[in-house]
């Protein structure tokens, strides 16, 4: 794997990304776009496919217009520089074009697929499960499927039940597939580059709430090792475990808890499959308390999986039961008040920690 890092992604580095390297503040969406451009330049076998990724064609010249530049402008400007063969606009055929991308990956290319909303995974799920994830295994290791998929997840933007899913566990459950969830522009860039360069199928989930947030991004290209978490804040009293946007929820909760004299440690998982058992166990064995925060619905979720691993391997270190703060077992509602109630919020985390500490 081409995983030479610009600097070590140390999980003990509380300063987070970009420390002591040249870089700039940028939006998550711009970091994403910049990374796609880097990877298209890095390897001629990389191409991008998805609905409206250039978006619109001139009726007379048949040339792509880049009117959309992809959902949330993720691929804006790329078709001008790389052309319609490498920035391939696809019809609304998720199963068909994901399958075609897998066929292209099996025959030597490195497709990157934009699935628009995370919910659309289910339309292409058979291709992901039966072909992308299983081909290597069922064919006895003869082949590999170096495909990267990405989509937008999460509630909080009024997209309602069918455009707001966070069902990470539906993908993490599949042997053969890798799942990564960046939480800021730095992790977005490092994980996306790593995903595209990785020889296994990787799904990268972008929470919509992150897309316009800004953060530091190094100028030089780098990768973050798949399967590793990181500490966003060091602390000694309780471990807060976040993934994707809930890592930000955890950080905000930790700030609030600090005001009440509670020193919380915050872990950002970054990868959900494989995931970093070591960082979970290391932290929990130190703080002896853990709250896992997940915007997915709770049954058979990543929160449940992390809780099971901690109960299995760090039971004797726990001073309190493992707690999960998740969405309820409901679809995502449209009404803003209901939607807000659906999502895990810093105050929910704080309340859970206070109750736990009062034991």
């Amino acid at each position: 794997m081409t995983t030479t890092e610009q600097r070590p992604q140390s999980k003990t580095d509380p300063l987070g990304p970009g420390y002591k390297v040249a870089g700039q503040e940028m939006r998550y969406r711009d970091a994403f776009n910049k990374t796609l451009r880097d990877e298209l330049n890095h390897d001629p076998d990389v191409f991008i496919m998805g609905e409206d990724i250039s978006g619109g064609f001139d009726k007379d010249t048949k040339e792509p217009l880049d009117a959309w530049g992809g959902p949330f402008a993720a691929t804006k400007g790329l078709v001008q520089d790389f052309g319609p063969e490498r920035i391939r606009d696809a019809p609304i055929s998720e199963a068909g074009f994901v399958g075609a991308a897998i066929g292209a990956a099996l025959t030597g290319l490195r497709p990157v697929v934009d699935l628009m909303y995370f919910d659309f995974v289910t339309v292409a799920y058979d291709q992901l499960l039966s072909n992308a994830a299983k081909s290597r295994y069922m064919f006895g290791g003869q082949t590999k499927v170096p495909i990267t998929l990405f989509a937008r997840s999460g509630a909080g933007t009024g997209h309602a039940a069918q455009h707001s899913e966070s069902f990470y566990s539906m993908l993490a459950h599949i042997p053969g597939l890798k799942v990564v969830v960046p939480s800021d522009p730095y992790s977005c860039r490092g994980l996306l580059s790593a995903a595209i360069r990785d020889d296994d199928p990787v799904f990268l989930v972008n929470d919509k709430k992150l897309i316009n947030l800004t953060g530091f991004v190094p100028d030089e290209s780098y990768v973050i090792e798949l399967g590793k978490g990181r500490y966003l804040k060091r602390g000694k009293d309780v471990t807060l475990v976040g993934m994707s946007y809930t890592s930000i929820v955890c950080k905000e909760a930790a700030d609030k808890l600090a005001g009440q004299g509670i020193d919380a440690e915050v872990i950002d998982m970054m990868s959900l499959s494989p995931f970093d058992e070591d960082i979970l166990l290391e932290s929990v064995m130190k703080t002896n308390r853990v709250v896992i925060v997940d915007e997915d619905t709770p049954r058979a979720s990543m929160a449940s999986e992390f809780a099971a691993v901690i109960a299995d391997k760090a039971f004797d270190y726990l001073d309190a039961p493992v707690k999960r703060v998740t969405a309820p077992h409901t679809p995502v509602p449209y009404n803003r008040g209901l939607e807000n109630a659906f999502m895990p919020k810093p105050d929910d985390v704080v309340a859970t920690v206070l109750k736990m500490m009062a034991r």
Binding site: P91, G103, T107, F139, Q142, G176, D199
Partner: protein, 333 residues
């Protein structure tokens, strides 16, 4: 009928007979308990993969189905490694981890037999996309084999639309044996002319007698040439018949009429080939008999090779899930 060289005729007969005897031998072994799972024989349908793959090279890619032994053989896979795979052996085509429904050989341009009906169709489209991406349509096309049952699957239609709008070098080869498991096509498919589906995608659709290898060869030749010229996909509706049930233990007499089976068997692809080439003095009975003898010996060897082969090591349970992963035991134990 296209003029065929003696070499090509020999290849056609050898391939069809190899498929026929592989399926029969595989069934014998299945009933002896030597196969480790479900098998789906394709005997009766040999003319289809043979007539099509006769136009392909190792650089072309095929996608296949649960009834895929014939496709594998026509694309050049070794019968001994296929037999070993069906017997779950370490020497099998996929180390015994795939079985009959997951046999692939990427060195031969074979993307795998596939147990989800219709699911391999977009893979062949993707292989064709790779060829187009690299400007190699003239030397690498995708052929998708699927059955009449798959024509009711959405992803098959999506694949045809994609191949049509992107003008990809693909052959959609519908092996129309009239039955999806036990359900007849007249019940499940809204037309009795599957080739007419092509009209909806603006591509050529051709009905072909899938019991006649010469008819298949001619129709496939035109479709392959069109694909290699960069003119896009073709749908072939190849009418054929499976002599056995859906899977090894299925009794097709429960849902098919004896007269229907007899009518197809009267047009058996091997028998009609033999009659035709000997009548036209293109091959001698002696030549054909020598081919059959060599295949019989090959089958004996394939079975013996498989039976003599070791079972996979238990560590194989964990291998090949990922190319790279931090935990070698995948966190299972």
């Amino acid at each position: 009928m296209t003029e065929l060289t003696h070499e090509k005729l020999t290849w056609l007969y050898t391939t069809m007979y190899r498929i026929r005897r592989f399926e029969e031998t595989m069934l014998e072994q299945t009933f002896k308990g030597n196969a480790m799972g479900v098998t789906h024989p394709s005997d009766g349908q040999e003319a289809v993969p043979t007539g099509i793959c006769a136009h392909l090279t190792v650089k072309d890619w095929i996608g296949s189905t649960h009834r895929g032994h014939g496709h594998c053989i026509a694309k050049g896979l070794e019968t001994r490694r296929m037999m070993a795979e069906i017997m779950g052996r370490a020497t099998g085509q996929c180390k015994g981890k795939g079985g009959s429904m997951h046999i692939a050989d990427f060195s031969k341009g074979m993307l795998g037999t596939n147990a989800i009906v219709g699911a391999s169709v977009p893979l062949a489209v993707g292989a064709a996309l790779t060829a187009k991406y690299r400007g190699k349509e003239s030397e690498s096309i995708g052929v998708s084999f699927f059955g009449d049952g798959a024509t009711s699957q959405g992803v098959v239609h999506e694949s045809m639309n994609l191949a049509a709008i992107w003008k990809l070098p693909v052959i959609f080869a519908c092996e129309n044996n009239g039955y999806a498991e036990a359900t007849p096509a007249w019940y499940a498919v809204s037309t009795d002319d599957i080739s007419s589906r092509a009209e909806g995608y603006g591509i050529p659709g051709v009905q072909v007698d899938g019991m006649d290898v010469f008819a298949v060869y001619d129709a496939a030749g035109q479709a392959v040439a069109r694909a290699r010229r960069g003119e896009g996909p073709t749908l072939l509706d190849l009418k054929t018949y499976r002599y056995h049930g859906h899977f090894h233990a299925d009794d097709p007499t429960k849902y098919r009429k004896a007269e229907e089976e007899a009518a197809y068997k009267a047009r058996d692809c091997l028998k009609s080939f033999e009659e035709r080439v000997t009548a036209q003095k293109l091959m001698t009975g002696d030549e054909l008999s020598k081919i059959r003898d060599s295949i019989e010996a090959e089958m004996v060897d394939a079975v013996q090779f498989a039976l003599d082969s070791p079972m996979p090591d238990e560590a194989e349970l964990y291998s090949d899930v990922y190319v790279s992963y931090s935990n070698p035991l995948l966190g299972l134990r």
